[in-house]
């Protein structure tokens, strides 16, 4: 097991399904009154605290009617925000996939000194407040920053422009793919690759035909988590965006701008944009559950196979 300090922070735990007691033995189970009271509290808490907020997003989004909902999503500034969010994610996710594959290959398949330190450094963005992450980029690339004058002289705009949004998002989502891939690649070992190489496959062929298929599901898992965070990031992009409607507003920033309009119409519009992000969250949860279900089934099959031997 790797020394991952903030494991839970981002990994939606590949949840293993609960094993409820098969035979209720006397003294090892609570009385059914206690049991159902606890279940009741859990249900009320989850419905009130998790389900209601979700339903509320859609109820508020449609509060002014379907036509207003549609207008809110299709007005130019909202369309621009949706486009920008998709574009930022489309740049950020492939970059972090490339990094994740490279880092996982180096860390999982080779031994070298300082490996735990490297893994800690990869996790670093998780322990930095998003606002502080944004501030780091401003300090480096902003007008008063280290490269501010040089960038201004060459008329390159990063902070308060789209490149800044991309950099902030890449920083925040930096560890997602790598930390899903590293344990999966470590578990896969190196025998398969060694066999392929012995049989005359080139390095790239080995990677494409042996390594990549063996880590496919971990990779997909990392990608959906990375994508969800990239599209939903608020704090870091808020610091570097400059909040120019139609130009540097991503969807979460558009939600805030509309909310600050403080009329019932703009609030409903804010919820309309937010409803798309909530749908993204539901989609992410759906894919995640499907992947976990698949993994649990594979484990059960593997376990029953081992039992018969």
């Amino acid at each position: 097991m790797r020394a991952a300090p903030l494991e839970v922070m981002t990994t939606f735990f590949p949840g293993k399904r609960g094993t409820a007691p098969r035979a209720a033995q006397r003294g090892v189970e609570e009385s059914s009154l206690a049991k159902w009271t606890l279940i009741g509290i859990a249900l009320v808490f989850c419905v009130g605290f998790l389900l209601l907020p979700l339903l509320n997003v859609f109820a508020q989004a449609l509060a002014k009617g379907g036509a207003h909902y549609w207008r809110s999503l299709t007005e130019p500034d909202s369309r621009a925000a949706i486009r920008l969010t998709l574009m930022v994610a489309a740049i950020c996710v492939p970059l972090n996939v490339l990094f994740g594959l490279a880092a996982a290959w180096a860390i999982a398949k080779f031994e070298f000194r300082g490996k735990p330190f490297l893994v800690t450094l990869i996790d670093l963005p998780f322990s930095v407040s998003p606002v502080v992450a944004g501030l780091m980029l401003v300090v480096l690339l902003g007008q008063q920053g280290f490269f501010g004058e040089w960038l201004a002289a060459h008329e390159i705009k990063i902070i308060f422009a789209v490149p800044g949004l991309v950099l902030a998002t890449v920083f925040i989502t930096f560890p997602f793919v790598a930390r899903e891939l590293i344990p999966v690649m470590q578990a896969a070992g190196t025998e398969q690759e060694e066999a392929a190489l012995t049989l005359g496959a080139s390095g790239w062929q080995t990677f494409w035909h042996v390594t990549l298929p063996s880590v496919k599901w971990g990779l997909i898992y990392g990608v959906i988590l990375c994508n969800a965070r990239a599209m939903g990031e608020f704090g870091a992009v808020s610091v570097v965006s400059g909040h120019i409607a139609g130009l540097t507003e991503t969807m979460p920033l558009r939600v805030q701008a509309l909310y600050e309009g403080a009329t019932t119409a703009t609030t409903a519009a804010a919820f309309a944009v937010a409803s798309l992000l909530a749908l993204l969250a539901l989609l992410t949860l759906g894919v995640k559950s499907a992947l976990e279900w698949r993994q649990a089934r594979a484990e059960r099959i593997a376990a029953s196979g081992a039992g018969q031997r």
Binding site: P5, L6, V8, F12, F13, G15, K16, G18, A20, Q25, R26, G27, V28, E30, S31, K35, L38, I39, A42, F45, F49, L50, L51, N56, V57, F99, A102, A103, K109, E111, I122, S127, S129, P130, V131, L135, M136, V139, L140, V170, F171, F174, T190, E194, G203, G232, G235, S238, V239, P252, V255, Q256, Y259, F271, A274, L277, A278, L280, A281, S289
Partner: protein, 276 residues
């Protein structure tokens, strides 16, 4: 060196080189920039900027609300993990999937919908506000948002530990005549404690840096409902870069201390789960 064992595999220098380059460009250089700018401050200036009255009020709210939220998560998270692992009931799997919802939902949306739920005309606020429980634009709102954001940490840290708990020990306790409550208090709770504390610390760490959800629900009034990350943004908007940097350093130092504590807790937790 152990590297000899794997040296038939190609690509180490390529992948390692890219990893270090990318890590440096994306994370380490911006990080170093902040540290360098912070070092330009004298101790006196740093102290003055980091401990203004307004900053102290913001720390108090940030750390206080994060602590209360983490404690609330400790209670409800433990209960949820227990119910999800130990009981079979209709809807258990949906409930289990729903636990990750705060992770998956963008924080801005979480803040937006919670603010509207607890507003005087909201679904929950219309019943709670007449009782004097005001969730929107108050410090309580900050606690509510932080509890929402941190909920999955305790549950997801505790679930695998509960699953691996050996039922034999409980059975032995029962055979020896211990009641269910006594078994829980003396056998189960001590085993779970390290994992609960780890989850609590993770939720706390996340809460201290949280920004997106709070902005919507707290109202951001200086000295009243303003959190430290929001104050950093305010300083930046006033072009007070050194002020923002000083506050950021305080948050960073705190995060790293907490990270160290979490590492220790995890070691303890692994140790506790594997008795000799």
């Amino acid at each position: 060196m152990a590297r000899q064992r794997h040296n038939v595999l190609p690509g180490f220098s390529l992948t390692m080189g890219f990893t270090l380059f990318y890590l440096g460009a994306i994370v380490l250089i911006p990080f170093a920039a902040l540290v360098l700018r912070a070092l330009e401050l004298s101790w006196l200036d740093f102290w003055r900027l980091a401990t203004t009255e307004r900053a102290l009020a913001a720390y108090r709210l940030t750390f206080g609300a994060s602590l209360i939220a983490a404690a609330a998560n400790g209670v409800f998270g433990t209960l949820l993990a227990w119910v999800l692992v130990r009981y079979h009931f209709p809807g258990r799997r949906s409930l289990d999937a729903l636990i990750d919802f705060p992770f998956a939902l963008p924080t801005a949306v979480a803040g937006l919908t919670l603010a509207s739920l607890f507003a005087p005309d909201g679904w929950l606020g219309r019943y709670l506000v007449p009782l004097g429980i005001k969730g929107a634009f108050t410090p309580l709102g900050v606690v509510i948002a932080l509890t929402f954001v941190g909920l999955p940490f305790v549950v997801r840290t505790l679930q695998p530990v509960l699953q691996n708990l050996e039922r034999e020990v409980e059975e032995a306790a029962a055979t020896l005549g211990a009641g269910r409550l006594r078994t829980f208090a003396q056998i189960i709770a001590p085993t779970l404690l390290p994992a609960v504390l780890t989850g609590l610390a993770l939720a706390f760490a996340r809460a201290v840096g949280e920004y997106g959800s709070i902005v919507f629900i707290s109202g951001n009034l200086p000295f009243k409902t303003e959190i430290a990350p929001y104050l950093i943004v305010q300083r930046l908007e006033e072009y007070d870069y050194t002020g923002a940097i000083a506050l950021a350093v305080v948050l960073l130092v705190f995060s790293f201390l907490l990270l160290g504590a979490i590492n220790l807790l995890e070691q303890w937790s692994r140790h506790a789960r594997r008795p000799a």
